[in-house]
Amino acid sequence: MLIDHPLLGLRDSSEFIYMGDAKLLNRPNWKSKNSKTKFIDYGYLRKNPAGLHKELWYHEQGDRSWLVVTRNTVTHEILKVELARYLKRKANAK
């Protein structure tokens, strides 16, 4: 698989480390209600879809950025690649 890095262009997926579902970006607040249930969900439960999946890839052998890759888990087709830090900044600005 080739991942179209937003800054570096097409890079081989073997340069990356895979971290799974991009929901890991949204860590629950430990002070919130039901935080225990939320953390169990955050730590252990996954939707694991067959089809489009937003997932985290870490460019360890490159610029060490975290990417959010939208990929089809049935065909391995990559549809969208975004920098995780931009997504996070955008979400925090709201």
Binding site: D21, G43, R46, K47, N48, P49
Partner: protein, 416 residues
């Protein structure tokens, strides 16, 4: 149908005209005691043990494709019981004991071949870890012995003992481990389950579960609605897809694991050999092909095919361990979808929905577990209680912090 040497001779004289299909192709009835979703090795084994050990024969096994079209026909056929943790090892030893008697029990030649499993180690630290593992195996009633370099040189003289980066220091040897003809496991269980009255319904996909007031009372399938007192899901890589139909998220990611087979070679590899410094394991099939594999690709996938970097990595591991295979040509590669759980260990448990049961999370170790998984799942389905060898394979171990993490990798499925 009963098979015997006499029958083979007799049929040979009659031009093989008397063989019959091994199982019926029934249409689903309206009602069963138990529906098993998933006609792979584990599902068929569950149906067989329910009928044989628990006298429940009103069972339907619904399978989306043809029988044995999933991981039971895609694995590298290894059986062993060389685990470390007390929650795992007795279960796998129980499984190995069932394997040892499987052919007699099923009256079917599944070619159970106990040629031995050898785990190579390359450093003092790794030796200590394997000594500990060997002791855990012995304590569970399994067999294990530690082989030094001299013994290895007699057993497997072709290894690269003087490899400068990973010199071989010895191996942990389990003589009772080995390989089994994987398809024949599915066929054997199907044959015997069918002969006890179990309906095996192929090309019948479970579309949804029938649930009312928190109770499951059947399955909606592509061949219509089938009602039952209990439903057992047993679908490996498709676990999240099937359980997702009723909104249950699982502690599972689906990953692709590739397997490889070389062209046929003369007998050269005596049993199963694993590389301790990389991820590579190999055995030789009865046709002569080297059957080998390594790591999962490492990303969520339902594709049943992988990518080239892992092929390269696995082949590098193989050549580092046994340079002699460097000129063997790769014949085929394929992939299967692994239900990788959050701690690398399986789940055989009830769900939040009454009468709905779940068996999955086998990671890439499901094949060797087939008989014990079927037995323990049958026990749970029939009695409502976990079998003592599978009492820790529960959903709530994640929230309780009682993970069964053989490798100590934490909640990251692609590292198990």
């Amino acid at each position: 149908m009963k098979y015997s040497g006499f029958k083979v001779l007799w049929e040979g004289l009659k031009g093989n005209t008397g063989w019959k299909p091994m199982w019926r192709k029934p249409d689903p009835k309206k009602n069963y005691d138990i529906i098993i979703v998933g006609g792979g090795g584990h599902g068929l084994a569950t149906a067989y043990y329910l009928a044989e050990k628990f006298n429940i024969t009103s069972i339907a096994v619904v399978e989306k494709g043809w029988l044995g079209s999933g991981n039971i026909g895609r694995n590298t056929t290894i059986i062993r019981s060389n685990y470390l943790l007390p929650q795992n090892q007795p279960f796998y030893e129980f499984s190995l004991k069932l394997w040892e008697n499987l052919e007699q029990e099923l009256n079917y030649n599944s070619m159970v071949s106990q040629r031995g499993v050898l785990n190579i180690f390359h450093s003092d630290g790794q030796r200590d870890a394997f000594v500990r593992r060997g002791n855990a195996m012995l304590m569970s009633g399994a067999d294990a012995s530690l082989l030094g370099v001299d013994a290895l040189k007699k057993l497997v003289p072709f290894l690269d003992f003087q490899n400068s980066r990973f010199p071989i220091k010895g191996g942990l040897w389990q003589p009772r481990g080995g390989t089994v003809r994987h398809d024949a496991v599915a066929w054997g269980y199907a044959k015997e389950a069918d002969s006890r009255g179990v309906d095996i319904i192929e090309n019948c996909e479970a579309i949804n579960f029938l649930v009312k007031n928190g109770r499951c009372y059947g399955v909606e399938t592509t061949k219509g609605v089938i009602k039952s007192k209990k439903v057992g899901v047993c679908v490996a890589g498709s676990s999240s897809q099937v359980m997702g139909k009723i909104g249950i998220n699982l502690p599972i990611e689906s990953h692709v694991l590739q397997a490889f087979v070389s062209e046929g070679l003369k007998p050269v590899i005596p049993g199963v050999i694993t590389f301790g410094a990389g991820h590579f394991y190999v055995s030789q099939s009865n046709k002569g092909g080297l059957v080998f594999g390594g790591d999962i690709d490492g990303y969520n996938s339902y594709a049943q095919r992988g990518n080239l970097p892992v092929i390269e990595d696995v082949c590098e591991g193989g050549v580092a361990l046994m340079p002699m295979i460097g000129r063997a040509r790769l014949l085929r590669t394929w992939g299967g979808i692994m239900d990788m759980s959050m701690d690398g260990s399986p789940i055989i448990d009830k769900t939040n929905i009454k009468n709905l049961y779940f068996n999955g999370g086998w990671c890439y170790g499901g094949f060797k577990a087939t008989p014990a998984s079927g037995f323990c799942y049958a026990h749970l389905l029939a009695t409502g209680k976990s079998h003592h060898n599978a009492k820790d394979f529960l959903f709530n171990r994640f929230e309780k912090g009682r993970l069964i993490d053989e490798k100590g990798q934490g909640n990251q499925p692609n590292l198990h």
